[in-house]
Each structure stands twice: as structure tokens, then as C-alpha cells.
Amino acid sequence: MAENGAAAITVLEGGFDPDLILTDLMMPVMSGWDFCKTLKGRAAWRSIPVVVLCGMTPDQRGKLQVEGAFEKPTHLPTLFGRIAELCGV
């Protein structure tokens, strides 16, 4: 668990190799938008699926290069289903 986007980048730079990243958009230090942009800009991390969980409508959150986006409150079976699908489980 990373507290914000910048902390997540530090963890990834340390060699952490996740199957999927679940992130919020409204975060201190580095927002979810900037985090996703950084992630998809680096060749080594491009293939990591990203699922966004936020309290915004699709119009409010804008265009995001992610594999899944869910509004809060979230229907958990749907969220878990998508995560399982992206991880190949």
C-alpha cells in the first residue's frame, strides 16, 4: 500500500513488480492522473493493468489511460471480477 502516487512510483522503482495497481485519483503529493501518466510513460510499467477507484463521474475524471475505472460506492463483485479478469485468474 502506497500513500500517494509519488510513494507508489518510489516503490516501483525499488523493483516491486505488481500484477495490477488499484488507485484513487484525489491523492496528496502526486494525484492519480499524474501517477497514471507517469506509469504509462515508462516502458517497464506500461503493461501493468491499472484500475481507478474514485468518487467522480466519467465526465469529471476525464480521459484516463487505464484498464478499469469505478465510481464510489462501488459494486464490489464487479470490481473483483474486473481485477480477476485483468490478472488472468
Binding site: 513488480d17 500484477d19 515508462r42 516502458a43 506500461r46 503493461s47 501493468i48 488472468g88
Partner: protein, 572 residues
């Protein structure tokens, strides 16, 4: 505005100035250290047998001095005799050249010989044009004394100084070493002591062995020249031994004078040719057989560095610099290898390649010099095998491109171009396998274009055992494989990019094709293999994880054998 950094240039200029201006001080000091390095092993050997420091010093230095005096007296008498005979030889050379005719080069050489003969002829003053000289003042007695004594006293004073300094350096070698260690830094005294001891031991061994080899070279030539009938054999042998310290050019320079003498005194060409052949043959034998055998594979110093060093030190210190150039360069290279602060000297002077093979290959691809890259690849294949060459050069080049792309040292377009060019070099090095086996293993690229090129390599080393699936989005790729229901699948993956996709493929294939043998080629490129990554892949459903193309080749062979056996038992 950017300021020009002149610091390093100023430092180099300062060092050169100190070396040039301090010549009268540095030459005896350097000679003393050189002799101390050479005399350390015999002195150590005597002390190991129970001799005290004083006794070992007296014996070793005394023996060296005796040898030096005996040799120098013989050499001086031979050189003096040669000087008196030189005008005779030059006249004989001149006559022979005149018989050869007025060819341009020969004619020039003949004129040079004329001048040389005139200079050394006893009555040469009579033949030279005279110039009126008015002596303004008769030199005083002390001036005349100084002029007469200086040529004799200077070498004696220098020899005495070198002798005293050598005695001190040799006698207090441990103390000097301790001071050097203190200079290098007291943080890690044990390691520094060990490295300094090792460096000093290696330098001593190397210099002493080189002295012995060159002395033997000179001695053999002296005897051989004497047998051919050329006078002053000992003098030529000594000069040849001394000049052998200059790489490549030394023997070529040393052969000039004895072959000229042979040319002068013998009526035919046989003796001259014998002299030249003797020098060339002896130098080839020593350089290619004796030195590698005695000194090990190599001295660790590049020939170019030795030549540049010879030019530099001759410019700085004259003939003494020429003789000291090789020992100084060898010392610098060995110190660079053993003292971390001086590591740059190894890069500059050492004979190791400037870049590792894989970095050299990657650099050539990056510079779009694909012919060079192909040449490096072919050389590696001729040394080992296709799979080893791909493991050692092409896959690391893909990994290095990925690493540079991640560190944003190169942009995405350049990285893509490098991957494409590695593919082109691959196609030039080995054509795709045309033979097909009955039950090929399906090959999947984990995700990136690098993975796809790795899969191409796998297909080549697999010799028709791998059928590469066309690139597709990962879910579509799994569906395509599942439709064909293969017995075995191999996934090509070059981390760190695409490692999540590789695990995804393993999980989906394991879930949808439970009986399928899933092999992952997890090539690490230039990094050490990660056991954790392999464990996670096994956890995700991989049956087998291989780390190199060589291992993949073996795994494919084993799978083919299993498929063939299954086919036979099925038919039965």
C-alpha cells in the same frame, strides 16, 4: 553562459611541466625505484633463507654493480673501437652503394654515409671548409678544468646518486609502502595493504622477468651475430636487449646498425640477410612464445599505450626515457588495476577491450553501424554457438535498450529502432529455421517488441521446434492458443517490461489448458537471474522456467522427445 572547464587540462599541463623541469631529479629517483623493483625479489629470497637486510642488500646490489661494471667496461671498449672503425665501414658501405647505381634513395643514403665517414675520419678537419674564428679571451683554469672533468664526472655522480637511492629504497621498502598506504587512506588499512603488497609483488615480478627475457634475447643475438661473423656482437646484443623494452619498434631499430656493419664488411648479401632474419625471428619467438609462456597470457598493457608512452618519455627525458617508458607504463597499469583511486589508468593503458562485448554490440547497433554489429556477432558465433552468441550479445542489447528507455536516456522511437535493428542483425546472422517437426511447440511473445524478437531467436535456436504465434493483445493471444489446444507452449519474456503480462498468460493458459506444458523463457539480459521472478511464474502456472536461450534449446529438445515418444505409444 557556459564556462569552459580547464581544470583537468591545467592539471595535466602542470604534471608535464613538473616532469620536464624536474628531469635532473626525477631521472635518478625513477631509476632507483626501477632498480629497487627489480632487486626486491632476489633480496626477499635471500631474507627468506635467513640473511639479514644488510647482508641481502650488500649481496644483491654488489652483484648487480659487478655485473654493471664488467658489462659497461666491455661495452665502452667495443663502442670506442667501433667509433674508430666507423669511417672505414662508411667508406665500404659507400663503395657498395656506388656499385648499386644512382637510384634516388640509395644515392641519398650514400651521401649520408659520405658525411658520416668524413665526420669520423682522423683527418676529417682537413677536408672540411674552414671558418675564421677569433678567440676573444683565454678560458680560465677552472673553466678548462670543468670542461675537461664534466663529461666524466656527470655520469659517475648520476650513477652514485642512483646507487645510494636504490640502497635506500630497497632497504626501507616496507616503510615506503606504509607511507603509500597512509596516502591512499587509512579507512581500510587491511585491504589497502593487501592490494599494495599485491601490486608491488606483481610489478617486481613483471619487471624482473622482462629484464631476464630481454637480457636472454640480447645474449642470444650477441652469440648468433658472433657466429655470423659480425664484430661487436656484445654491443649489438646489449642495444637489442635494451631496445626490446620499446614494443614492436625496438627490434626493428636494433637491427639497423649490425645489418649495416654486415653490409659493409661482407662482399655479398648473405650475412646482411642472415642478420635481419635473425632479429625478426628472435623477436617473433620471444613476443609470441617466450613472453606468453613466462609472463602468462599477457602483460596487461596495450601496445599502443606502450608506444605512446615511449614517444612521451623519450620527448621528456631522452634515451633514459625510452628505456624507462615500458616499466613506467606497466607500473601505472598494475597500480590502476589494484588501487581503486587509480582505476582510470587501467582503462587508458590496459589491453582489455574498452567496452564489454555486449555493450560494444549495443553501442554499434545504437550508432546504426549494423555491419560492425554483425561482425561482432559472427566473431562470437565462431567462438561458441548461435545460442551462446545470442545470449551474450543480442539479448543483452535488447535489455540495454529497454533499460535506457526506462531511464529516459533514449526516447521510445530510438528504442523501437534499436529493437528492429537487433532483429535485422539476427536475420543476417542466422536465417530462420526451415525444417519443421511434427509437433512444434507454440511460441508466444509476452508483450513487447523485444519479447517478439526474443521469440524469433528462440525459433532460430529451436531448429523448427517452435511455431511463433503472431503478435496479439494478451487476451486474444490466449484465445488463439486455446483454440489450437497444444501440448506445449513457450513464452518469451524479457523483463522488466511485460512481467505482469507473462504471469497473466501463465494463469490463463493453466486455467484453460490444464494439461499443457508451459515453459517460460525469462531472459534477464544483462542482470543476474531473479529466483523470485521465476518462483512467481511457477506459482502463476508455468511448468518450467528457463533463463537463457541455451537452456530453452535443451527444454525444447526434451519436449520434442516427449512428443515423439507419446506419438509412438499412441500409434501402438
Amino acid at each position: 553562459m557556459r564556462r569552459l572547464n580547464v581544470g583537468p587540462v591545467a592539471e595535466v599541463a602542470l604534471v608535464i611541466a613538473i616532469v620536464a623541469i624536474g628531469k635532473p631529479v626525477w631521472i635518478p629517483v625513477t631509476l632507483a625505484f626501477y632498480f629497487a623493483f627489480i632487486l626486491t625479489p632476489p633480496s626477499d629470497a635471500l631474507e627468506r633463507r635467513g640473511a639479514s637486510r644488510l647482508v641481502s642488500l650488500l649481496v644483491v646490489v654488489g652483484a648487480a654493480m659487478t655485473l654493471f661494471l664488467v658489462l659497461s667496461s666491455i661495452l665502452v671498449s667495443q663502442a670506442a673501437d667501433l667509433a674508430t672503425q666507423l669511417h672505414t665501414y662508411s667508406a665500404q658501405i659507400n663503395q657498395k652503394l656506388a656499385r648499386l647505381g644512382g637510384i634516388g634513395l640509395v644515392e641519398n643514403f650514400r651521401r649520408a654515409m659520405d658525411q658520416l665517414g668524413a665526420a669520423f675520419a682522423p683527418d676529417s678537419e682537413a677536408s672540411l671548409p674552414t671558418t675564421a674564428v677569433r678567440i676573444a679571451e683565454t678560458p680560465r683554469l677552472w673553466q678548462r678544468l670543468e670542461e675537461a672533468v664534466r663529461p666524466i664526472l656527470e655520469p659517475i655522480a648520476m650513477s652514485g646518486l642512483v646507487l645510494v637511492l636504490t640502497l635506500f629504497v630497497l632497504g626501507r621498502r616496507e616503510d615506503l609502502r606504509a607511507r603509500m598506504i597512509r596516502l591512499a587512506g587509512p579507512q581500510n588499512v587491511t585491504v589497502t595493504t593487501r592490494t599494495m603488497d599485491e601490486a608491488v609483488r606483481r610489478i617486481s615480478h613483471l619487471l624482473l622477468t622482462q629484464v631476464w627475457i630481454n637480457a636472454a634475447f640480447g645474449a642470444v643475438l650477441a652469440v648468433a651475430l658472433h657466429l655470423i661473423g659480425i664484430p661487436y656482437g656484445l654491443l649489438w646484443g646489449f642495444i637489442a636487449g635494451l631496445l626490446r623494452f620499446v614494443p614492436m619498434l625496438g627490434a626493428a631499430i636494433a637491427v639497423l646498425l649490425p645489418s649495416l656493419i654486415a653490409f659493409a664488411i661482407f662482399p655479398g648479401w648473405r650475412e646482411t640477410a642472415c642478420t635481419v632474419v635473425l632479429f625478426v625471428f628472435a623477436d617473433i619467438v620471444v613476443a609470441n612464445f617466450v613472453e606468453p609462456l613466462v609472463l602468462g597470457r599477457r602483460t596487461g598493457v596495450s601496445s599502443l599505450a606502450l608506444l605512446i608512452s615511449a614517444v612521451f618519455w623519450t620527448w621528456m627525458w631522452g634515451p633514459v626515457g625510452l628505456v624507462l617508458a615500458t616499466p613506467l607504463t606497466v607500473c601505472a597499469a598494475v597500480m590502476g588495476r589494484n588501487v581503486p583511486q587509480l582505476a582510470f589508468l587501467t582503462v587508458l593503458l590496459g589491453d582489455e577491450p574498452g567496452l564489454n562485448a555486449e555493450v560494444n554490440f549495443y553501442q554499434r547497433v545504437l550508432a546504426q553501424a549494423l555491419r560492425d554489429a554483425e561482425r561482432i556477432g559472427r566473431a562470437e558465433i565462431s567462438k561458441s554457438s548461435l545460442a551462446s552468441a545470442l545470449d551474450a550479445l543480442l539479448v543483452p542489447a535488447l535489455a540495454l535498450a529497454g533499460r535506457d528507455q526506462n531511464q529516459q536516456a533514449i526516447d521510445d522511437a530510438t528504442a523501437e529502432r534499436v529493437v528492429g535493428d537487433v532483429g535485422k542483425v539476427l536475420a543476417a546472422l542466422a536465417p530462420p529455421a526451415s525444417a519443421k517437426v511434427a509437433h512444434p511447440v507454440l511460441g508466444l511473445a509476452a508483450e513487447t517488441r523485444s519479447d517478439a524478437v526474443l521469440l524469433q531467436m528462440l525459433a532460430m535456436v529451436g531448429g523448427g521446434r517452435v511455431e511463433a504465434q503472431p503478435p496479439a493483445e494478451r487476451a486474444a493471444a490466449v484465445d488463439a492458443v486455446v483454440r489450437r489446444a497444444p501440448k506445449a507452449v513457450i513464452i518469451a519474456s524479457l523483463p522488466p517490461a511485460g512481467s505482469a503480462s507473462t504471469r497473466y498468460l501463465c494463469r490463463r493458459l493453466r486455467a484453460q489448458l490444464p494439461g499443457c506444458h508451459v515453459v517460460v523463457l525469462l531472459h534477464r539480459g544483462v542482470d543476474a537471474p531473479s529466483s523470485e521472478a521465476a518462483a512467481r511464474l511457477r506459482e502463476a502456472g508455468a511448468t518450467e522456467v528457463v533463463l537463457t536461450l541455451g537452456e530453452a534449446q535443451k527444454a525444447l529438445a526434451a519436449l520434442s522427445l516427449q512428443a515423439a515418444e507419446a506419438g509412438v505409444s499412441g500409434a501402438a
